[in-house]
């Protein structure tokens, strides 16, 4: 057993660090570090820089335009990027639809879509959940009927998706649709790629509890989708969807990001004062930081264990559910402690202070404004990507055989 990084891994780490040092724009660092709003252009800006370096798809195999990095290298990359305050590479294209297209799509889909994901041409969003189908995804109702028209074979799509993250920026959505209502629910689902500029697609904002617009409803009214946009076989979409969910869950562990947030928490706890002394000297608060650090140390190794065991082309197994549960809980605790550190300054709500251009005088410390909102917002992490209750059901069934 050797849990140390190899010399090669270390060299890789310095290479990534050197790259970030010279290529990660300061304006992006400032936004990420300050917990400020990131716009569509910010994400694309960073994606294109990575693309030019050949690192646009750190988790893809070389043959599809990825880096071909080992899972451990990917982990190092993620950690370095988070540590340097780089924006997140959004998962919807890179981690979600791309693996499905690679594994089940045809050659022309691979040739068309994959390069456009890496170079930042397309912005994908995920159309799984519906108002009546959240945890019970297989009950989804959005219909796709096959029709023949003068301009070829199409699906006519009608229904609604919801909770669609950053759908307001997207030009493509991958959807689970119902193509058959006979047999088991799971057997009538297909995986369809839909151009959001098609007539009949409407995106409506849902405002979250922190006042931000991050999620949407997407409505489909007689939307004509060419049959070429079906991935794999009709009525086999459930298999592909489950494959994808495994990929979604490992991303959610967020070890690199949590390591960065832990550092930030410690900085805040040194700056905040309690009765004139640094809050970090308060044993009760310090123990809370220590406790979450223990959880994170364990998760880091668990994550590496899962990654090392995982073969390159295989979807992660039910162990991914452990990463999702622990990862989301840690993220929530970190955001909660940062808010708690503020004391009374958790109260002010200054949405204008979350814009990078804002030059007003902060209320309380300059890092205070986003922290309570983040705490509220991060309650989502135990709900999305399959709620933590559902993850526990998976572990109970798949690992424990209960």
């Amino acid at each position: 057993m050797d849990i140390n990084f190899t010399a090669k891994d270390q060299a890789f780490r310095s290479e990534v660090r050197g790259f970030l040092h010279t290529q990660l724009p300061l304006e992006l660092i400032d936004k990420v570090r300050g917990g400020l709003r990131l716009g569509k252009q910010d994400y694309l800006y960073w994606q294109r820089i990575l693309y030019r370096q050949g690192w646009g798809a750190p988790m893809w195999p070389r043959e599809f335009g990825g880096t071909g990095w080992s899972p451990v290298q990917q982990q190092i990359f993620d950690e370095e990027c988070s540590g340097a305050d780089a924006p997140l590479q959004l998962p919807f294209g890179l981690r979600m639809v791309a693996p499905v297209i690679m594994a089940f799509g045809n050659k022309s889909q691979q040739d068309y879509f994959l390069p456009r994901i890496v170079n930042g041409t397309d912005w994908w969003c995920q159309g799984y959940s519906e108002p009546g189908s959240g945890s019970d995804l297989a009950s989804l109702k959005m219909r796709a009927e096959r029709i023949s028209t003068s301009d070829g074979e199409h699906y006519l799509v009608n229904g609604q998706k919801t909770w669609t993250t950053l759908g307001q920026h997207a030009n493509w959505i991958f959807c689970l649709v119902r193509t058959s209502s006979s047999g088991r629910q799971q057997e009538g689902i297909s995986f369809l790629l839909i151009d959001m500029q098609t007539p009949g697609v409407t995106v409506r904002p849902i405002i979250m509890l922190d006042g931000e617009h991050e999620i949407n409803e997407v409505w489909f009214e007689d939307v004509k989708v060419p049959v070429q946009n079906l991935v794999g076989q009709e009525n086999k979409g459930w298999t592909y969807a489950k494959f994808l969910l495994g990929h979604e869950r490992t991303g959610i562990a967020g070890v690199g990001r949590s390591k960065r947030e832990l550092k930030r928490l410690k900085v805040i706890a040194r700056k905040e004062t309690s009765n004139g002394r640094p809050l970090l000297e308060d044993q009760r608060f310090r123990d809370r930081i220590a406790q979450v650090e223990l959880e994170l140390m364990a998760l880091e190794i668990t994550n590496l264990r899962v990654l090392s065991a995982e073969g390159k082309q295989h979807a992660p197994g039910p162990e991914a559910s452990i990463l999702k549960i622990k990862g989301s809980e840690i993220q929530q605790t970190l955001s909660e402690l940062m808010m708690q550190a503020l004391g009374h300054y958790a109260l002010p709500w200054l949405p204008e202070a979350l814009d990078a251009g804002w030059r007003g005088e902060p209320v309380g410390a300059d890092y205070a404004a986003p922290l309570s909102g983040h705490y509220f917002n991060f309650r989502k992490t135990t709900i999305y990507g399959g709620s933590n209750e559902i993850q526990k059901n998976i572990i109970a069934q798949m690992i424990l055989g209960l």
């Binding site: 959940s129 009546g132 189908s133 959240g134 945890s135 019970d136 009950s139 919801t162 909770w163 849902i206 405002i207 979250m208 509890l209 006042g211 999620i215 905040e272 004062t273 309690s274 009765n275 004139g276 809050l279 308060d282 009760r284 608060f285 809370r288 808010m339 708690q340 503020l342 004391g343 009374h344 300054y345 958790a346 109260l347 002010p348 709500w349 200054l350 005088e361 209320v363 309380g364 309570s372 909102g373 705490y375 509220f376 917002n377 309650r379 989502k380 135990t382 709900i383 999305y384 709620s387 933590n388 209750e389 526990k392």
Partner: protein, 395 residues
């Protein structure tokens, strides 16, 4: 032993319940939270007409009962307010500042201020906590220098609840001693528009309002002083204890309403062909929420009864250190416990609602945010657990 409300209290509760049900619906409240002032003068007037703005005051100063209402009355009102997430600055004006003047003000101050509060004409705010002190009530760096017959006040006050709407502030400042000393703090009544007072008002996470207050060479006359010079800390602590007891009651009201909403939701929301309330893990979580709320309610009753225990007007009580210690222990116990319950009930309610728990459109997230902010106000669960825990050493 009797845990029941009196008939008068039940009547008041009923009136309030009906008023809030009719005029304080979720959508009405949402609009209010977004309005410029963040509260409604119409509601405030109605509260005055219902007599609740004078509830804690003796008849002599506009109250409805001879001696004024007690903390159990406050509890009743605040619980109703918690259920409806009432935004009006009742806690700061009536309980905190009104209570302070009632207990420590001069006859003249009481005459001037209490009827004005009770009649709905005057809003007040307590400008006490400071940025560096966190929740420590003895941490006062602001100063008041004697000057002629009066004082000159300098300093800055943090997150003054209801500060922007207040006509008068009660400001704590040091007349002697070092920043963290218990002795040497004095309280002053300061007009919001006195030269040298700057207020920066802002919305809070729960839709209410607070302000940063700066005091630069603010001159006040001698009669602005409340109580004895240098000896304000016990007055401040007692007023804060009243406020904490009231906040606990508000939290219990909010938790009760949130539990009702969540129970209803898990009974009606279906997944996998059945109400999600059939899943045992959710049942147990809902049971935990119920237990946390009932235990918090018990602690809140304890706090309300204990906070009234030492009456500064009663010479036997006022100087009885043991009574004060028992009161402070009960208050810290209650705030710690209620804070923990508010946290877990709020988080669970959101989780049980799934995506619906994190949207602005539903009341769930609003209860969650208010509960979170109650925990952060006047000492969070860890702070009060610490106070309670430290008191074990003294015993």
């Amino acid at each position: 032993m009797d845990f029941n409300y009196t008939e008068e209290q039940l009547a008041l509760q009923d009136t309030l319940r009906r008023y809030l049900a009719k005029d304080y619906g979720f959508e009405q409240r949402r609009a209010l939270a977004k309005s410029a002032e963040g509260y409604s003068r119409t509601h405030w007037r109605q509260f005055a007409d219902l007599g609740i703005l004078a509830l804690p005051f003796p008849e002599e100063f506009g109250g409805i009962t001879v001696d004024g209402g007690n903390a159990v009355d406050n509890m009743l009102v605040m619980e109703m307010f918690g259920r409806s997430l009432v935004l009006e600055p009742y806690l700061t004006t009536v309980i905190l500042c009104g209570g302070l003047i009632r207990d420590a003000g001069s006859q003249k101050q009481k005459k001037q201020i209490l009827p004005a509060i009770g009649g709905g004409e005057l809003l007040m705010a307590l400008a006490h906590y400071e940025a560096q002190g966190r929740y420590q009530p003895s941490h006062v760096a602001s100063t008041a220098q004697p000057d002629g017959g009066g004082f000159i006040i300098n300093g800055a006050k943090a997150v003054v609840l209801g500060g922007g709407a207040a006509g008068k502030l009660i400001v704590s400042a040091r007349t002697s001693g070092g920043t963290n000393d218990s002795n040497g703090i004095s309280l002053f009544i300061v007009a919001h528009d006195a030269p040298g007072v700057t207020l920066r008002s802002y919305a809070t996470q729960d839709g209410a309002r607070a302000a940063e207050v700066k005091l630069t060479d603010v001159r006040v006359a001698k009669d602005a002083l409340i109580g004895t010079q240098d000896a304000a800390l016990p007055l401040i602590q007692r007023a804060l204890d009243y406020a904490v007891a009231a906040l606990c009651a508000e939290a219990v009201g909010a938790m009760t309403a949130l539990n009702e909403a969540t129970l209803e939701y898990i009974k009606t929301r279906k997944q996998f062909g059945q109400p999600i309330g059939r899943f045992q893990t959710l049942q147990h979580r809902m049971v935990d929420m119920l237990m946390a709320t009932e235990q918090a309610r018990s602690m809140t009753i304890l706090a309300a009864v204990r906070v009234d225990a030492n009456d500064p007007n009663d010479p036997n009580d006022a100087n009885d250190a043991n009574v004060t210690i028992a009161r402070r222990r009960a208050i810290s116990a209650a705030k710690a416990y209620v804070g923990q319950s508010a946290r877990s009930v709020g988080q669970s309610a959101v989780q049980l609602h799934g995506g619906m728990g994190v949207v602005d459109e539903l009341n769930v997230s609003h209860y969650f945010k208010r509960l979170t902010m109650i925990n952060a106000t006047f000492g969070d669960a860890d702070y009060h657990l610490g106070c309670f825990s430290d008191s074990l050493l003294a015993a």
